[in-house]
Amino acid sequence: MNSDRRNFVKLVGSTTVAAVALGSGGPSRAAESPGPEGPHWVMVVDLRLCIGCQACTVACGVENQVPLGGFRTLVSCYEVTSHGRPRRYTLPRLCNHCQKPACVTVCPTQATTKRADGVVVVDNTICIGCGYCVQACPYDARFINETTRTVDKCTFCLHRVKAGLLPACVETCVSGARIFGDLNDPQSAVATLLGRHPVQVLKKSMGTEPMVFYIGLDAAFDGRIQGEQVLMPAGSSVAEEVR
């Protein structure tokens, strides 16, 4: 079963290296003993490959039982018209697991922390749901989970990573646009990609040092989008009904 999955992922091409790295069993052991010598989990999103199918959005929702109206990850979709020619632009968004997370600084109860392996997490047994971190996050990556009544966000599917699996969004991505791995491992797919390609991050000016890197991110999309909004924001109508 495990080797079947590995073989399948190998077919996907750009995730091959990541799959081999995970298949070796290294991340599983490392996730249990995070430390300065341990892994530093990051994600690379290759926008040249993303087709905007939202499979990652759905897989994340199913895997993490995210209530209706909330999103741990989402593919923003835009219609860009220049020189009279329209085209689609897709931008997968998730928590950037920043090196200098604005959310962690403002949390009054230390419920949200940055782990030694780079993952920013929320302890929902401590979170009081004040929403200060939601305000402080420049990336709209956090929301209030109306079921747990606490703040919710992407965890890089830590429960899966711990078991030697890839995050749900990465595993389900049909075009292999999401690549996940250990930045500290020079042989990992993410380290290789970061070495070979110029990469961009969202809202660099915020000084949060995001650990989700994009390949092929158009400058018009790296911050607040200067444009119009035609549809209801994702989940807004559902959130209204839930309320």
Binding site: Q54, L74, V75, S76, C77, Y78, E79, V80, T81, S82, H83, G84, Y89, R93, A102, T105, V106, C107, P108, T109, Q110, A111, I126, C127, I128, G129, C130, G131, Y132, V134, Q135, A136, C137, P138, Y139, D140, F143, I144, R149, T150, L202, K203, M206, A220, G223, R224, I225, Q226, G227, E228, Q229, V230, L231, M232, P233, A234, G235, S236, A239, R243
Partner: protein, 365 residues
């Protein structure tokens, strides 16, 4: 040729801080403003304002209690509220604010006790009590200012929201607090205070209106600095925040809040002939109070309506029912009114004549 972007699917900005936060900031502002008045009476022996001293303390206390309820109501896990005390985080302004708010609440209660204790015994206030009251007023003044400046600070540190992220915000908040506190005390004085001839206390109202005029002027000057240096002459996102204030939020931000809430009251409070037209005078005080509420509303809401990552501007209409609805606001005001009625009923809120004399004596000595 220009590139046009239309967002088809995007992360919607959901309003996470709603009407309870607006109410909280409004009431802590009233609390600070009213305490400044009490500090002038008890800390600096201001004779003209003396008849309002006790009422100002009561208003300060009641407003702080009403404000704190909002903070708890706005938590999604209100039952975990107390954990803020032992799970502190030194880098979070909220942790600091918690201790400021509680210290101020304690000080207000002790201050009121020492101010009123002689009355319950049916005696004149002792020298010792006078000294305690004066000391508490002098300690309380910076504490009151800090309590409200913190409300501005808590928003000001949020760099993700360009409308909030300004170092001048705590000062703007203080100016707004003085406006709302003083304007509300004018309204309460008009409602409750009469001199021995049964007339409105003209001298007292004049003193209050001069103070209010200064607060309004300070507010306008700070706004000018904020809107120009912080927004119009600034870059990218901050400029957009200004557009929001003077574009989609024009009716609340520019007409209600700045024109009716600041400019018109400033004119009325500054000109003695206009002040003597009592309906206009009290109307202007009411407009200033309501204007400050709209300032809080506009700042908290408009800040969140500018999407952080998405395109365009968002819209928000509060629900009628629910913990973040209009009924919450009305309920909170009802709580404030109820507590005011109860406290002014059971406590001797009118300053006895002897205290005036004492203030006189102390001043003379």
């Amino acid at each position: 040729m220009e590139t046009k972007i239309i967002e088809l699917i995007g992360p919607g900005p959901h309003i996470h801080w709603g009407l309870p936060i607006v109410q909280d900031i409004f009431f802590t502002g009233i609390s600070t403003g009213a305490f400044v008045l009490a500090a002038l009476v008890y800390g600096f022996n201001n004779r003209r304002l003396a008849p309002l001293g006790r009422l100002a303390l009561i208003v300060s206390l009641v407003s702080l209690l009403a404000a704190l309820l909002n903070l708890i109501a706005d938590l999604h896990q209100p039952g975990r509220f107390a954990s803020l005390f032992w799970r502190m985080h030194a880098t979070s302004p909220m942790t600091w604010g918690l201790f400021l708010l509680n210290a101020f609440l304690l000080l207000l209660a002790v201050q009121l006790f020492f101010v009123l204790r002689a009355d319950f015994r049916g005696q004149a206030r002792s020298e010792g009590d006078h000294r305690v009251v004066r000391l508490l007023a002098l300690i309380g003044l910076p504490l009151a200012l800090l309590v409200h400046a913190y409300s501005g600070y808590i928003l000001g540190v949020v760099k993700a929201i360009p409308l909030w992220h300004s170092s001048i915000l705590p000062l703007v908040f203080l100016a707004a607090a003085l406006v709302s506190g003083l304007a509300l005390m004018i309204l309460l004085a008009g409602l409750l205070l009469r001199n021995q001839q049964g007339e409105l206390p003209g001298d007292l109202l004049d003193s209050l209106s001069v103070l209010l005029a200064w607060a309004l002027a300070a507010n306008l000057v700070l706004r000018l600095f904020w809107y120009t240096i912080g927004m119009a002459y600034s870059t990218g996102p901050a400029r957009e925040a200004a557009l929001l204030l003077f574009g989609p939020s024009f009716s609340t931000a520019t007409i209600v809040e700045i024109t009716l809430g600041l400019v018109v009251p400033l004119i009325v409070m500054s000109l003695a002939p206009l002040r003597r037209l009592r309906p206009l005078f009290f109307g202007a005080a009411l407009a200033a109070t309501v204007g400050v509420w709209f300032f809080r509303w506009q700042l908290v809401m408009a800040g969140q309506l500018l999407p952080k990552t998405g395109a365009g501007f968002s819209h928000y209409e509060p629900s009628f029912w629910g913990s973040t609805g209009i009924m919450h606001v009305l309920g909170n005001f009802a709580f404030w009114i109820l507590l005011m009625i109860v406290l002014t009923w059971i406590l001797p809120w009118q300053e006895p004549q002897s205290s005036h004399d004492h203030a006189l004596r102390t001043k003379g000595a």
